[in-house]
Amino acid sequence: MKRKIRIAIPSKGRLNPPSIQTLQNAGINILRKERTYISETSDPRFEIIFARAFDVPIYVQYGAADLGITGHDIILERQAEVHELLDLGFGKCQLVVAVTENLDAHSVKDLPAVARVATEYPNLSQKYFENAGKQVEILVIRGTAELAPTLGLAQIIVDITETGETLRRNKLKVLDTVLESTCRLACNKIAYRVFENEINELVDKLRGGGLTE
């Protein structure tokens, strides 16, 4: 018998509930036992592993998982060589450049030539500021980049936002959008060759399950 096809999904955070729901709509119910990282599903061909959303692209690229659900922004940030098979529609967000409200700047052009940027997205930030012709020093922060300006750690942050609410609450204003993102179904390149039929069937079912475009 062929081995099971492994799907990596975010173990917690905002992407976890809709990931589980989307799979459920496609007929894959996760039979989760407490304290396990690998779960069986109602479809014996698939099993689920729970991973950090940021690690999902790497799991998929290196074949620790065959498929993965995670943000387009995260796939690009991790520079993972994977197939993005499907836009799952949920997890809509923007990666934005933001600064403190009282800073006299209306666009990225107005920023000082040399500045410090706090972000969870060092690769995308580096590329963005290079294109903008700004020399920046990048501080990699996990989770709470929006605190950095208040603490005087960095003048600029690059972070994701859904509604802009957290940014406003931290007295930050958006200068530019680096990219728009949604959740994707990522696929390992070899797994896509080996399990092409099973994976395409899943893709069809995910489409049929009504994605929130």
Binding site: G63, A64, Q79, H83, L85, N188, I190, Y192, R193
Partner: protein, 362 residues
Amino acid sequence: MFKFQDFDGKIVALRAEMTTPAVRILTTKMASTPKPIRLFYISNVFRYSQSYLEREREFWQAGIELIGCNTPEADGEVLSLLASSLKKLGLKELRIDVGHAGLLKNLLKATGLDKEKKSVLQGLLGHRNEEQLKKFMNQNNFSSELKEAFLQLSSCRRLEDLSSVLLKSSRYRKTRNYLKALLEVKEALANYGVEKLVFFDFSLVRKIEYYSGIVFEASVPNLGLPLGGGGRYDNLIEKFGKLKMPATGFAVEIEKCLKALTAQSFQLPEEGKVKVLVTSRFRDTAVKAVNVIRNADVVALLDLKKSSKKEILKYAKLNEIDYAVFTDSSLEKPALIYNIKLDTAKNMTIKTFLKNVKKGDF
């Protein structure tokens, strides 16, 4: 690639693969060797990997190059050698996916798209998503002939499917020749009896720039990364000097093969060598006994510490040693021999002991 500055200011780099060094040696030292030349290597190479699942920076590769020949027979030989080498390792469910760097490059060029759109197209070909591919081609005003060719090539899963791809206009003559060559390679593979393992993937590209013809990757379902791969590089050798020669080859990643074998629960065959620990109150006979035993092609260790009997037996057990030998004052006199696994002891001369061990007795 790892690059750094030498003491005289020159930039030096660690080799990231072996084909380029092999070609360099070929052009300087083997220029007059009759062609075709068949080379092999087993060597370490150095690459950066961003993954923490793969922390290594040094990798071992085993590879071959077939130089001075561009016939379908040469491509067939290289592909079948890759298949048989990996099968011989004990790998199961092996597959080799084949693409063609020239074919893909030519057709991408024929689209007239800019670099960015070309990479979008390549992504779509990789997903093999017909619907999205059609949409993209319509948006970008592909000619109906080119559209048809992309759709057909994208749906080909086997080399023989390529016979149905039609490209009639004269501007695609080169492309047609590539397709013809691939079909001839398929014939050669059938003769070698490996055609069932070989698949076609129009979108397959290797990260290395120098490939000009057929390219391929070997994989098994248990490992998400290719075990190895290679292809034809007909324009690389001329870059090193006057020689202009077609060539092809492959490299297999040894660590990845080991990982795949482990994932397939492969068991290494038992080593089967008998190990003996020798000790004595008489130092000279112990040393002599070690020599005699080693000359009989049995692994012998000398107790270096004049340990007690209890210590010897414990050490032997912990180190998976088969026998402990306590020699007397001369080799002719019977020695006391413990079989550690069976926990039994017998008196016999070293000569008799060796005879028995060879027979598998005691």
